[in-house]
């Protein structure tokens, strides 16, 4: 019988990974990047310290790269199997269904590009990202725009994904609890979005 659960398990893994470790990481990522509020010095010190952390490679691969890959691959299968059905049925959740897929795509494109510029760059050149580097990186207007879109996509994707995961796992079954989670989606999107944009602003000045 055990084999029968593979399908179910994969879907649940996709749902779980979105919250932990990926969603949790986003919060941690924002938290640590908030060192930038302390000024260039503090930020540089933090980056140096965290990159020097002995288990960093395991954490980055095991807790971010692999779960992200699994979440993405399964997500793409889900997108492929879905269909857009918005025109006749313009209900709130249906909009969210589409938005979740769109923001999944934009967030993915952003994350790949962001990781390339701010992490793999350091890996290949052997130099850590610094405040000055980030300032220069944020120079062009389109980069700033892409960051705004990327941050907001990721934040919405997490907040709405959290609300649907609560349904998927059967925590919120009643209309009332689902409505509460819907409101939480927007509160989380708003506050985390503001937080993320505030970090961006701290670099660009």
């Amino acid at each position: 019988m055990a084999g029968r659960y593979d399908y179910f398990l994969l879907k649940r893994l996709q749902s779980l990974f979105g919250i932990f470790p990926l969603g949790a990481f986003l919060v941690v990522h924002f938290t640590f990047n908030s060192f930038v509020f302390g000024g260039a010095e503090t930020f540089n010190l933090f980056v140096g310290a965290s990159q020097g952390f002995p288990l960093i490679a395991f954490m980055e691969i095991g807790l971010i790269a692999v779960p992200l890959l699994v979440h993405t691959l399964l997500g793409l299968i889900i997108i492929y199997r879905g269909s857009v059905n918005l025109v006749p049925y313009t209900y709130y959740r249906n909009w969210m269904y589409i938005l979740q897929r769109v923001t999944g795509f934009t967030a993915l494109a952003f994350v790949v590009w962001h990781v390339w510029n701010t992490r793999l760059h350091a890996f290949f050149t052997g130099k850590h990202v610094t405040f000055a580097y980030m300032q220069q990186h944020f120079g062009p207007a389109w980069v700033k725009a892409f960051y705004i879109v990327g941050i907001m996509s990721a934040v919405f994707h997490l907040a709405n994904g959290f609300a649907t995961a609560m349904m998927t796992w059967g925590v919120t079954a009643s209309k009332k609890s689902q409505l509460a989670m819907t409101m939480a989606t927007w509160v989380i999107t708003f506050f985390m979005g503001a937080w993320g944009l505030r970090i961006l602003l701290a670099f660009t000045g």
Binding site: S83, Y89, N94
Partner: protein
């Protein structure tokens, strides 16, 4: 208004290409879409005055309880017997459902819905014809809950509106979740609860729902499908953990 205009998407057979034809039928008070189709059947002539074949459709109860007359009326899926002409914009467009194979014109083959019910074991097994005595009692509150789900007529509206239900996906559809949930809470049905949960954890089961919740909005019987889906989401998780542990 002395005539009713209809635009109907027609298809001569499962493998033929669809085409549109327009009809005008005499207006009468309190007419529904089925009555329009009956009028066309009596006198199958298009608005251009060309004789054509009668439009094929299905219907039976004429009171929105059998689900057989389900089609897309003015872009939205619903039962044509309860679609009142006075409440519809004209020309009234009629199309077959898009998620099921077309047999002819507005008639589709929904047998995969029945297959899904079989797959999920959506029934109560009573073995033998002998008298089993009175069944177990059911609390009135549970009866009330079950009543909502018992009104499902396997019409397919929930499947038609669901973005996850299509030819690329093996998803069984929301109605199956409603039925499985109902029989899981039934005192005799509960004896086979695990079998149903197993089926819903397989290909095409709960995992394929993405919480768009169109199903519940589209359901003409207002069946709380999303509640059933969420409750089953919980039950299947517990079931999986228990199966693993013992």
């Amino acid at each position: 208004m002395d005539e009713i205009r209809l635009k109907i998407k027609r298809q001569d057979g499962p493998d033929e290409l669809p085409y549109w034809e327009e009809f005008a039928v005499p207006y009468g008070p309190k007419m529904n879409v089925v009555m329009c189709l009956q009028a066309i059947q009596n006198d199958p002539v298009t608005v251009e005055g060309l004789p054509t074949t009668p439009v094929v459709w299905e219907c039976s109860c004429l009171e929105e309880v059998c689900g057989s007359c389900t089609m897309i009326v003015n872009g939205k899926v619903r039962q044509s017997c309860s679609a009142l002409v006075d409440q519809l914009e004209q020309p009234i467009t009629l199309e077959p459902m898009t998620k099921f194979p077309v047999v002819r014109d507005l008639r589709v083959d929904r047998s995969k819905m029945f297959e899904a019910l079989k797959e999920a074991g959506a029934w109560v097994t009573v073995d033998g014809y002998f008298d089993l005595g009175p069944g177990p009692r059911m609390a009135p509150a549970d009866q009330q809950k079950a009543y909502h789900f018992s009104r499902c007529m396997v019409c397919g509206c929930c499947c038609e509106a669901c973005p996850q239900y299509n030819s690329r996906s093996p998803f069984m559809g929301a109605f199956v979740m409603g039925q499985a949930f109902m029989f899981n809470t039934h005192p005799i049905g509960a004896l086979e609860k695990e079998k149903r949960l197993d089926a819903l954890m397989g290909v095409g089961g709960l995992g394929d729902c993405s919480n768009a919740q169109n199903c519940e909005k589209a359901c003409p019987k207002n069946i709380p499908l999303t509640e059933a889906i969420a409750r089953l989401g919980w039950d299947t998780t517990i079931h999986m953990i228990r199966k693993f542990l013992r």
